[in-house]
């Protein structure tokens, strides 16, 4: 496993490197976008940790370029006031994001989720998905909660399966709308929220303390898979 850390601050690079080495991952470092592009082109990189605020290039351009020829997992790291860029990065093809300062534990957990997700997409997708008390049979279109069947409208079911298939990953509002509705209009956002509220009411014991569907305010939704 070879990681590439693209980050202009030396000390942040150091401790990311350190934490990855502690998990026995190998690391390469780049402090500029140019350097990063060179390494990506010449090395067999398994994952990119990308800081959005680089001195020479826009991080989003790097994501777009990389997505042009490869699906190497990319985790974006950014400061808190860059929310819009996060959404843009995710829509451009980044796999996940973290807000600085982040906890190393969370960082490593995200890496695991991304890897597992990539692994799943290569092998054939499982027909039955199970997490905690929830069981979804993707073939028979049946959702069981604590063994009892729960009914969903076709649209709700589509949203739910989209989330489940990408469990652990943040899906932006745009992405969900594009996948399920096939288009994106600002007014659809409202109906997406209504759908999510309905799904939550059918799945969660308390909608304000969700177990399965987590909200990332201003960004999108994440299906909790652990």
């Amino acid at each position: 496993m070879l990681f590439l850390i693209v980050e202009d601050d030396k000390q942040i690079r150091n401790f990311i490197n350190f934490s990855l080495k502690s998990q026995n991952y190998d690391c390469m470092e780049a402090s500029t976008g140019k350097e990063a592009m060179n390494i990506i082109a010449t090395q067999n990189i398994s994952m990119i940790i990308l800081d959005l605020g680089l001195p020479d290039m826009d991080g989003i351009d790097i994501i777009k370029t990389v997505r042009g020829f490869s699906d190497i997992p990319i985790i974006v790291v950014s400061s808190r006031d860059q929310d819009n860029e996060k959404v843009e990065a995710l829509d451009a093809g980044a796999d996940d994001y973290l807000t600085k300062p982040f906890s190393i534990k969370e960082f490593l957990a995200r890496i695991r989720v991304v890897f597992r997700h990539k692994g799943n997409s290569r092998t054939e997708a499982p027909k039955i998905y199970k997490v905690a008390d929830l069981e979804i049979d993707l073939e028979k279109h049946i959702v069981l909660l604590e063994g009892k069947e729960v009914h969903f409208t076709p649209m709700e079911y589509n949203v739910l399966t989209l989330l489940v298939k990408n469990a652990g990953k943040v899906l932006t509002h745009n992405y969900i709308l594009k996948e399920v509705w096939g288009s994106y209009i600002e007014s659809d956002m409202q109906s997406l929220r209504v759908f999510m509220a309905n799904i939550r009411r059918k799945l969660e014991k308390s909608p304000a303390k969700p177990r399965y569907i987590l909200t990332e305010v201003g960004i999108g939704y994440r299906f909790a898979d652990e």
Partner: protein, 486 residues
Amino acid sequence: MLTLDRKNYSNIIKQCAVTISLNASSTLLSLMIQHLGFNEANIVVIYLLSVLITSRYTKGYTYGIVASVISILSFNFFFTIPLYTFKVEDKSYYFTFIVMLTSAVFTSALTSKLLHSKEMTDDREKQAHILYSLTSSLAKTSEVLDVAKVSSKCLSNLLVCDISCILANDKSKSQILTVKKGCFDINNIEADWNEIEIFVKNHPSFPIKIRGKCISYICFPQEMDEMIESNKFLFDSIVMQITIAMEREILIEEKENANTETQNERFKNNLLRSISHDLRTPLTRITGASEMLYHSLKEDESLKLVSEIYEDSRWLTKLVENILSLTRIQEGRLALNIKKEAVEEIVAESIARASKYYPDHKVSINLPDEVLFVPMDGKLIEQVLINLVDNAIKHTTPQNEIIVSIWPEGGKVWFEVYNNGLSINENDIPNLFKMFYVGSNKIPDSRHGMGLGLSICKAIINYHGGEIYAENNEEGGATFKFYLKA
């Protein structure tokens, strides 16, 4: 009043004397003319002339009419046959009398009217002059006290009387300016507003009101009462001019104050922001490095130290982020991203985040069954709720209750964070939301922050057009609540 009567009396005597002497002299003149053999028509004309002159030099219609009647009688007595009686032989004289009387009355009436309107014009000109000189001297003033000085001096000169001007600076302090025969006297007295009001009641005076608040009184001496009564229009205009001038000065002053305040505020914000920006990167490093150490160290003693470094750096990071958001909101530079958000999503996310590091504290939630959509900047309201829940956690033990409730009510949606832990010191409540206010209810061993968390909440809520409140609960603990417009 006695002086007034006496004055009137002498006036009447004077005018009667004028009337009678004029009549007498015209009679004498007529007798001379008759002696010279001129005919009667000349005599009639002479009498008419005397009535005209009488009207000119007396006030009102009365004297003119009296003069006309006396003229007729004298004409009758001295010049119609039989002489020296009021009898008339030739009946045609009646006609002469009637014509003479009518023309005499008319002449006197016309003259009086003319006189009256001349007086009015003079009066108006005088008023216009007073107003003009007041306005032009007020145009050069530069503060409220100046306006008061200039206007009292000006009024005192123009109206030839003493003037007192009372200025209320604030609740306890007032200034009294008196102009006596052109000499200034300024007293700074700490007069009770009640005393001033009594003084004001005893003198003819005009309040000067700006935005419904009385800031000054112009008082005239008592003998001016009548003049004020009869020149109400003039005095109203004077007061209006002074009010306008004072209001202008107050507005200018307010604007200047506001300008300096904004500049100070901007300076403070810039300073805070640049410091915070510079702190951010090293803090990320410290947090990351200390967490790394924490996970890799095995030794107990150092582990404790490192975990404290980690906790502190996380707390500092939160503070720095709060300062950055606050400076951005205060400068109005924060572009609000207002969208209709589902309240339950925001609440769920905030509580999950706030209680992440405090798994022992239980936070319960009361949400209405229906989905509430409220226009807001989701990220910012999330930050408010995180700050409030975080605050509640800090002031409670895991045995206490923290309840977050949301309910819609008449076009508003209320958010409430309740806890039954420690109460807020009552004295702190009005200052809770002020920037950098540190409460007096110190919790031992806690980082009490700079009170920034709550001031940022207030800034965000106000920016949304809502309001935030804090109160103590009877059973202990505190409740924070705010509303957003639905």
